[in-house]
């Protein structure tokens, strides 16, 4: 449908007013909620791909995420009515000792844009709080962020505590400025993403496997 393609395009452009207008028009026209959701997610997926290719940058990603969020607020009741649930449930936070929130917020934003339910625990999160949130929300993935070299040991300790807690098939993914694939492997994380957009594909791959 041309209207849904247009909806995808306005999400990519971060045009919040048009995103809300087109979403409401689709709801009014009784377009199935799943189709509207797919159009919105397709927009954010494209923003993520362009971000990874350095064709768009953080400002464009922020305004696209905001347009998505406002459109989703309109669509939410329709999704509930249709029994459509989030694709995955994720818990995210910056590890204990780290007060940085920028990178973590971008990942949360991209996950929400991919129709994940995200429980954001904020910054300076102790391992036991991650574990409790995973249990409470029955999360399938937990994301740990660390921006400083000084908090990398806390990330290692948190991964170990989560793994030791025996939370079934839960996947632990990590990221942050000093974090590398090698470090992620060394501390026993299930996955690493160098950027926020990549964190979406990472979770989809890990949980589809």
């Amino acid at each position: 449908m041309a209207e849904l393609q247009e909806l995808t395009q306005v999400i990519i452009k971060g045009n919040r007013a048009e995103a809300k207008r087109l979403t409401q028009a689709a709801i009014d026209a009784q377009v199935p909620a799943r189709q509207v959701l797919d159009a919105l997610v397709a927009g954010m997926d494209e923003v993520g791909r362009r971000f990874q290719r350095n064709e768009v940058f953080v400002p464009e990603m922020l305004i696209a995420s905001r347009a998505m969020k406002e459109a989703m607020a309109l669509l939410e009741p329709m999704l509930v009515k249709a029994g459509i649930k989030p694709e995955y449930i994720a818990v995210i936070g910056a590890v204990q000792g780290d007060l940085h929130d920028i990178g973590k917020n971008l990942v949360a934003m991209m996950w929400r844009g991919a129709n994940f339910q995200v429980v954001d625990l904020g910054t300076n999160v102790p391992a036991e709080k991650f574990i409790a949130a995973v249990k409470e929300h029955r999360a399938q993935v937990v994301g740990l962020s660390s921006l400083l070299t000084t908090t990398m040991p806390a990330m290692q300790a948190t991964v170990k505590a989560i793994k030791d807690a025996g939370l079934g098939s839960l996947k632990v993914v990590v990221g942050g400025a000093p974090i590398t694939q090698d470090f992620a492997k060394e501390i026993g994380a299930d996955g690493f993403s160098p950027d926020a957009a990549g964190a979406v594909d990472l979770v989809r791959k890990l949980l589809a496997a």
Partner: protein, 362 residues
């Protein structure tokens, strides 16, 4: 200790900028406060300045400038055992560790609309008077000259100032939606900085360089696109570089992150030097020097993540490779690629100093 060998620190750095022969590469370093604390427990006798003396740093800071709209009006709102929440003099509400360093958790930004900027923050910035102690700067400058150091004034440029006042989200979304607002903030912050710099020079403090701080990138790319940077911030960076050159000074720009996409713009703006060239963010002087080494001096790039391994072979290879690459242009100064973290032992850092001295000779 800046008169080792035949050159003073000032002469050495000036010759580096001129791509002339030097006895050794110039040196400087930054540290996390926790690193110095660890080293003191491991036998360091003294403070950070004593480590810089051991390294034989060539650089002397005259003053530090971070213009704010409400100078001296920061206050603690609440606190617990380990953190305190502060409304700072930039209007930012942030949570800080009491006994640790690091970037604070940003809780809120009062300057959240163009109206508030125009009615409150802009007038406050323009009306707060001088934001530097010119007499202290004069004393520090005299001291740097006595020590033969390359004397610089450090300051925060307009992008970092904007983010500090308005936060990342408002600033970055504003770049897309209200570019003329962000441009106005950048111009105003730069005007205030230039006014302060003029005041320092008017006191007879003819320092050697302006070292400007503004993290405009992260480990993957610049925060905004090169085109957005060119339109909104770059004209003010160019103004700062031109001011420095008009006063016979050099312009050093500090930014963390991956700045490969804007190196050409830095050259076009007339920057003289880039620091610290973060290795984990894809910056590598082995590729940058051949391409930009004649226009831009390179300052840093030795990977602190390798330092943090405390593995002597790994560290020696890092320092040897980076210093050899830098020396080829005669336009290179030693610095790590960020700040030395507390994972690095005092024993390891003394080894690093030895390596820098050994491989840094011409």
């Amino acid at each position: 200790m800046t008169t080792q060998g035949s050159l003073t620190g000032r002469e050495r750095v000036n010759r580096m900028f001129a791509r002339q022969d030097q006895d050794r590469i110039p040196r400087h370093e930054s540290f996390w406060p926790e690193t110095i604390t660890r080293w003191q427990e491991e036998g360091l006798s003294g403070e950070q300045s004593d480590v810089l003396d051991l390294l034989e740093s060539d650089f002397g800071q005259v003053t530090w400038m971070w213009p704010s709209p409400f100078r001296g009006q920061g206050r603690t709102i609440q606190q617990d055992a380990s953190t305190r929440v502060v409304r700072d003099e930039h209007g930012k509400l942030a949570r800080y560790w009491k006994n640790k360093s690091g970037t604070p958790e940003h809780l809120g930004f009062d300057c959240d609309s163009r109206e508030k900027w125009e009615q409150v923050y802009k007038p406050a910035l323009l009306n707060t008077g001088l934001q530097v102690d010119v007499h202290a700067a004069k004393r520090a400058f005299r001291r740097a000259r006595e020590l033969g150091q390359w004397a610089y004034v450090a300051g925060v440029e307009s992008f970092e100032q904007t983010r500090t006042m308005m936060g990342d989200e408002i600033t970055l979304m504003g770049m897309m939606e209200y570019p003329e607002w962000i441009r106005d903030v950048s111009v105003t912050c730069t005007d205030v900085m230039l006014r302060n710099l003029d005041a320092i020079v008017a006191e007879g403090v003819h320092f050697d360089g302006l070292w400007t701080y503004g993290d405009m990138a992260y480990n993957h790319a610049t925060m905004c696109s090169p085109a957005t940077y060119r339109e909104l911030i770059w004209p003010d960076h160019k103004r700062l570089a031109m001011w420095a050159h008009a006063h016979n000074m050099k312009f050093i720009y500090h930014t963390d992150g991956d700045i490969n996409g804007v190196m050409d713009l830095y050259v076009e703006a007339g920057f003289d030097c880039i620091q610290p060239l973060e290795a984990k963010a894809n910056m590598d002087i082995r590729t940058l020097c051949p391409k930009y080494g004649q226009q831009l001096a390179m300052f840093g790039n030795c990977n602190v993540m390798k330092y943090a391994t405390n593995d002597r072979a790994v560290i020696e290879e890092e320092i040897r490779a980076k210093l050899e690459a830098g020396k080829k242009t005669r336009g290179y100064a030693y610095h790590s690629d960020h700040s030395v973290p507390p994972q690095v032992s005092w024993e390891t850092y003394q080894f690093i100093i030895d390596l820098v001295k050994r491989y840094g000779k011409y």
